[in-house]
Every structure is written in structure tokens, then in C-alpha cells.
């Protein structure tokens, strides 16, 4: 093992300088629930770990312009324990609650879940459906990017050398809006998605869907934002015909692999079924909100 150096800077600027100036492989340490496992199993051998948890802005959930800003390293248990956030974005909370165990969520963050770039990451379809925007700090300054622009393939992201995700912004909600995330797994807990679906929608006063976003996990190299699936819902009241169109669009978007959790054919089928169920859950929540 190479000599690993650990740094815990107090500011984002200092963290960026450390990452940008490092000669060897680097990793950002947030909750560490993926990074430490990857180090222990020799999948990665970083020369420098930059622990960002001493940086106040990555550890806070704050109200902003009627929405919320969630620090990239806020642990899952803190996110799911936030009442106002849970009320506004129940689907994001659904996704967070499915990450690992309570022990794991005592540390695991949505920044880490995203940057680990697993296509099966549970919080990511929910964040993409929600239209979450990542604030990225790097050597060239601050930039914003939609969450769907971050993962580029399994274990790979579009972040450049020295860049860190500092926080995520979830916007304010129009009336009659809600989201939901469901995943299919053989076990209810401590499992990895065979398929995951995030649906976010807004209804008008008559119950017609006026806006929707649908994201699919574990069915392609990255989480997919599927416009055709959202279009199947917009203008409908989520009647059977619209839900069938949603299911077809979701299945058609899948580019899955065969693995021990499911075959391609199975994942494609389940994506459609689960998209319907998730849309109906979001619908029920939106009617009550």
C-alpha cells in the first residue's frame, strides 16, 4: 500500500486546492461508506483523502428561495429526519431511506451516492426526477449542473480534477406536487436495486398532470431521465391508458445488463411495472399535498 495522506480542510477553497494540487490518485471522503470499502478491498489506492466533513456548508440543510439546499455530505439519517424536507420531497426521502442500513445512513450522503456513480444508487433517480441541481466548486470557481449531468458511466462522473460537489438545490414546489421513488429488490432492506424509478409530478386543480419527470435506475450505465415517460403523463389524469404509455416508454428506454439480480428482459419488464406503481404513489401524494 502506498502512503496514504489524510486531510480535513475547513473550507471548500482549501479542499479544492488540495485536490487540484495532488500528484497521485485522490478521493473525496464524505460518509466513506463506498470509499472505505473500495480502499479495504484494494479497488482503489488513493494517495490523498480529502475529508470534507469539517466544511460547514457541506454539512447543512438550509431553506433557500422556498426550496432546500442540502449539503453534499449531510448523512442520510439527518436528511430523512428533516420534517420540512420530508414533507416537500417525499420521493427524495424514499430514495435516501433505501441506502444501506441505519448504520450506513449514519454516514452515507447523497453527494457520495451520486459520485460513487453506481447506476443502482437509490437516491439518484429521485434527485433527478426532482430536478435537483448540484453546486460544484472547483479550481475555476463555482458552477451548477443538473444531477443527471454528473454520472457518465459506472464509477465515472463528469467532475473535473479538483472539483467537489458542495450541495444540491431542490426548488420550491407548486401546489399539488409530489414525488415518489420505488425500487424492486428481492429483500426489503439491505439490497441493491434490480430497477429503481423516481417520478415527480404536478397536478392542476382538476387533477390533470401539468409537469412530470421520470428517472430510471439500474437499467443502463447511468441513471436515465426519460422524457418520453414523462410526456406520457403530462396532460393526463394518470388513467390506465396514460399509465400503459408510461410503462411502454419506461421499458423502451432501458439498456440493461444481465447480472445475478436480473436478466435484461426481466429488468425491462419490471421498469414498466414499477414506473406505473411509482407514478400512482406520486399521484396519491400530490392529491393530498
Amino acid at each position: 500500500m502506498t502512503d496514504l495522506r489524510y486531510e480535513a480542510p475547513a473550507t471548500l477553497q482549501a479542499a479544492v486546492a488540495l485536490l487540484a494540487g495532488a500528484a497521485g490518485p485522490v478521493r473525496v471522503l464524505a460518509g466513506g461508506t463506498d470509499v472505505i470499502v473500495q480502499m479495504e478491498t484494494d479497488l482503489i489506492e488513493p494517495a490523498l483523502l480529502v475529508d470534507i466533513k469539517k466544511i460547514p456548508e457541506v454539512r447543512q440543510i438550509t431553506a433557500e428561495n422556498g426550496g432546500f439546499r442540502i449539503g453534499a455530505a449531510v448523512p442520510g439519517m439527518q436528511i430523512q429526519g428533516h420534517p420540512a424536507l420530508s414533507k416537500a420531497w417525499p420521493g427524495v426521502i424514499d430514495g435516501v431511506k433505501l441506502i444501506g442500513s441505519i448504520q450506513v445512513r449514519g454516514r452515507a450522503s447523497i453527494g457520495g451516492n451520486l459520485c460513487n456513480a453506481s447506476p443502482a444508487a437509490d437516491s439518484v433517480p429521485a434527485l433527478i426526477a426532482a430536478g435537483a441541481v448540484a453546486r460544484i466548486v472547483g479550481p475555476a470557481g463555482v458552477r451548477e449542473a443538473p444531477v443527471e449531468a454528473i454520472p457518465t458511466g459506472p464509477g465515472k462522473t463528469s467532475l473535473q480534477k479538483g472539483e467537489i460537489i458542495a450541495s444540491f438545490f431542490l426548488p420550491s414546489r407548486p401546489p399539488r406536487s409530489a414525488d415518489a421513488y420505488q425500487r424492486f429488490t428481492p429483500r426489503t432492506e439491505m439490497d441493491i436495486a434490480v430497477v429503481g424509478v423516481g417520478v415527480n409530478l404536478t397536478l392542476d386543480a382538476n387533477g390533470t398532470c401539468t409537469a412530470a419527470r421520470v428517472a430510471l435506475g439500474a437499467v443502463a450505465p447511468t441513471v436515465l431521465l426519460v422524457k418520453e415517460a414523462a410526456d406520457a403523463l403530462i396532460g393526463s389524469r394518470l388513467e390506465e391508458a396514460a399509465l400503459d404509455k408510461l410503462a411502454q416508454a419506461a421499458s423502451a428506454a432501458c439498456r440493461p445488463i444481465d447480472d445475478k439480480r436480473g436478466t435484461k428482459e426481466y429488468r425491462i419488464k419490471v421498469a414498466g411495472v414499477l414506473a406505473k406503481r411509482t407514478a400512482l404513489q406520486a399521484l396519491e401524494r400530490a392529491k393530498k399535498s
Binding site: 495522506r5 466513506g32 444501506g100 442500513s101 441505519i102 448504520q103 449514519g106 454516514r107 439491505m190
Partner: protein
């Protein structure tokens, strides 16, 4: 020689100082440096919960925490659970109701169960099962664990 990091932390109310390398986990240091071997290593990948400890009141897998991150924290391990020779009610009732066989998962389960009962003194069976979903046991089939937690909860409520 690898760089050593100096860490000061409070474990079960006592102050500890140790030197560690950056890649050493909290679990490694608890067991191998501080000789607090009550915390067990099962999978070392965060799946089994045998190494569960409390760090600043949060339940975590100590295999997924670097020892260097423990600087300035308050840690609770199984060694701090009994009061001298008096076992915690959870410990005593696990023994009485056979809530363990081989015992490797038990320290982690006791830490997790205590954390649950501090938050929810009267959990349902479902709540107990979901709370302990991150603690694997290959001996008991879980039923006796759940019954032990229920009985301890009842006693601790004074019911």
C-alpha cells in the same frame, strides 16, 4: 515509514489518545490498538453490523469509519454498556432468553437495540426488525433476538 496521525477521543466516558495510519479503520484501532475487542469484525464492508458503535450519538459501522476521523468525537462501544458488574437490561435479557448463540453479532445488536430503545421505548416487532436490518445473525434466526429486545423494552419501560 507511514505518517502517523495523533487522535484524541472519548470512549465510554474515558479519554483515549492513539496514533494511527490514515487507512486504519476505527474498528482496527478499537480492537488491535486499544484492546477493546468487544466490538467484532464480521464482513468489514458495512453489510453485517457486527462492528456497530455509536459515534457522537449516531449508530455507525466502525469498519466504515477511519480512525483518524474519530478525533474529538465521543464513542460508545459494548464495553461501556454494563454498569460495573451490573449488566444492562438488554444484556441480561439476551442471556435469559437465549438471544444469542455464537455471540459474534451480539455486541453490534446490543448497541443497535439500545439506540432504538432510547429513541422509541415501545417499538413494534416490525420496527425492531427494520431497525436491526443492518445487523446480520447466522445462528438465531432472529426470533429470539426480537423477543429479547421486546422483553427488555418492556422491563425498561417499567411495564
Amino acid at each position: 515509514m507511514s505518517k502517523k496521525y495523533h487522535v484524541t477521543t472519548t470512549i465510554n466516558g474515558d479519554e483515549y489518545e492513539f496514533l494511527c495510519e490514515a487507512q486504519q479503520t476505527l474498528l482496527d484501532v478499537l480492537r488491535d490498538e486499544l484492546m477493546l475487542s468487544g466490538t467484532k469484525e464480521g464482513c468489514a464492508t458495512g453489510d453485517c453490523g457486527a462492528c456497530t458503535v455509536m459515534v457522537d450519538g449516531t449508530m455507525v459501522c466502525s469498519c466504515l469509519v477511519l480512525a483518524v476521523e474519530a478525533e474529538g468525537t465521543k464513542i460508545e462501544t459494548i464495553e461501556g454498556m454494563a454498569n460495573g458488574n451490573d449488566l444492562h437490561p438488554l444484556q441480561r435479557i439476551f442471556l435469559e432468553l437465549n438471544g444469542l448463540q455464537c455471540g459474534i453479532c451480539t455486541p453490534g445488536i446490543l448497541i443497535a437495540a439500545k439506540a432504538l430503545l432510547e429513541r422509541n421505548p415501545d417499538p413494534t416487532e416490525t420496527e425492531i426488525r427494520y431497525w436491526l436490518a443492518g445487523n446480520l445473525c447466522r445462528c438465531t434466526g432472529y426470533d429470539k433476538i426480537i423477543r429479547s429486545v421486546q422483553a427488555a423494552a418492556k422491563e425498561m419501560r417499567g411495564a
